[in-house]
């Protein structure tokens, strides 16, 4: 097991010129068989493996990743964490996740830099205001913190925002979740990987899954670039490629994979100490600890697996950002990238069983999966270990599209798609 991180280990290693830090996790060759194989080494998959080992005592687990850990959407999002979803089912799931976030750095012994700096959603018209007050009241009834702010309160909270009336996007109000904020995305992947590895989980990178061995409707194992791995249970947590995996396993999913893009500016001195979201004009923005402005844009409309976004989507987003924050107009953007998000028709995830026995899927997080990383892994681990969904994710079954009990969160997802 790797050494525990602490002020003492820091001092000890400083004296040794930081040359003796142990690797944070092993890179083992796969064993022939495991109790559980998790496909997908993003935050959700790593969290699943960690909670399987930690909470449920399932330690004979392999996690298989096509590329490198956190190289997909985990490393491509805008790191926003909040739990103010409209419906009870979603609110419970995201709030469970929020509670795990609040103790995550201590739990993992890894600083995930979770910063509860508040997430403020803006209302630009009367309809936004009404929808926001409905959602805010629903949140408060459900025990989730939410405050409605007037324009004067918003000006005091975010002084650099242009709140003069008459602009292209007038701000009539906002909903603030003070417990919301950001976390360091890579640290989340690395922290879960290190903690899962310490509990015995084998993390196998650079090993794409090429097929599943299924016999009599029951999964037998996974074909990978590093050979066949036998498994009693298989959990698929691959976000944008969920449809590809489902196709290999012989079933279909109600998801579409679309590129969602983000950008960062050159680093500047601290100007923005919270997260601002605007669903209506589709822009969201925060400032990283390095000083870069992290800006999230909308999803491209079409199915796409190329990890890049269309130019007109960035133009729309940056236009709105410059309108709300005129002082950002002369900033240069350093990087722009895209991640492939798997969007469900109701903008809620699918976490549960598949038509293949012993195979479970966790997908459809769409544009907002990062915030759910701990909770998603936690409920998926419970689902895999007990062979049935936990109360928190029972409503998020694949079957809900047949029964009609869909969980429409297009409003709370806050992303134009």
């Amino acid at each position: 097991m790797s050494a525990r991180y602490s002020i003492f280990s820091l001092i000890r290693n400083a004296l040794a010129y930081h040359e003796d830090w142990p690797a944070a996790w092993r890179s083992p060759e796969p064993k022939p068989a495991y109790d559980v194989v998790i496909v997908g080494g993003g935050g959700h998959g790593l969290a699943t493996a960690y909670y399987l080992a930690k909470e449920l005592g399932v330690r004979n687990v392999a996690l298989i990743e096509r590329g490198w850990l956190g190289g997909g959407n985990t490393g491509r999002n805008t790191t926003i964490v909040r739990s103010n979803y409209l419906w009870d089912e979603s609110a419970a799931l995201y709030e469970h996740s929020m509670k795990l976030w609040e103790g995550l750095s201590q739990d993992l012994n890894y600083n995930v830099m979770f910063s509860q700096r508040g997430v403020l959603s803006l209302a630009h018209n009367q309809h936004d205001l009404r929808a926001q007050s409905r959602q805010s009241n629903a949140n408060r009834l459900g025990g989730i913190d939410s405050e409605l702010l007037t324009p004067a309160q918003i000006k005091a909270f975010v002084p650099i925002m242009d709140l003069r009336a008459g602009g292209r996007y007038p701000v009539l109000g906002g909903a603030l979740q003070r417990r919301g904020g950001t976390a360091r995305h890579d640290a989340v992947a690395w922290g879960y990987a290190r903690a899962a590895d310490a509990l015995g989980v084998d993390i196998i990178q650079e090993s794409p899954v090429t097929g599943f061995r299924i016999d009599n409707g029951r999964v037998q194992g996974v074909e990978t670039a590093k050979g066949f791995i036998q498994a009693d249970k298989v959990g698929i947590v691959v976000a944008g490629h969920s449809g590809v995996m489902a196709d290999l396993a012989g079933f279909r999913l109600p998801v579409t994979s679309q590129p969602l893009q983000a950008l960062v500016s050159e680093p500047i001195k601290p100007v923005l100490d919270t997260v601002i979201m605007s669903g209506a004009v589709h822009a969201y923005i925060s400032q990283s600890d390095k000083g870069e402005l992290v800006i999230g844009a909308g999803a491209d409309r079409y199915v796409g697996y190329g990890q890049r976004g269309s130019m007109q989507v960035s133009e729309d987003t940056l236009g709105a950002i410059c309108e709300l924050f005129p002082s950002f107009r002369r900033l240069r953007m350093m990087r722009q990238w895209g991640g492939i998000v798997d969007i469900c028709p109701d903008a809620s995830p699918i976490i549960g069983k598949t038509p293949v026995e012993g195979m479970f899927i966790n997908c459809g997080w769409g544009t907002g999966g990062f915030k759910a990383t701990p909770g998603s892994g936690w409920v998926f681990a419970q689902t895999i270990a007990h062979d049935r969904p936990h109360d928190l994710n029972a409503a998020f079954s694949l079957d809900r599209f047949r029964t009609g009990y869909i969980i429409d969160e297009h409003g709370a997802a806050g992303v134009a798609h």
Partner: protein, 97 residues
Amino acid sequence: MLLIPCPYCGERAESEFSYGGEAHIARPADPEKTSDADWADYLYTRTNTKGVYFERWMHAHGCRRWFNIARHTVSYDILAVYETGAPPPKFDTKSEV
């Protein structure tokens, strides 16, 4: 941004078009007799191919006519354009870029 060849107006920027999703999805002929599973499949399930995808587009800021294209969803190359109602052209839909 995609450069989309409208069969009626020629090549135009993607921002002139609206997207209609997967093509060739037929509404069940007799909804009364369609099972819930088949109805859900019609409403929600999409092929979501990584490879050549057949999809509908509409030239919203132009001729306002619908048409189909075959596009590779990794390279975004547009491989064929054809009229609504015509059968899809033959492609290996799971081909690499």
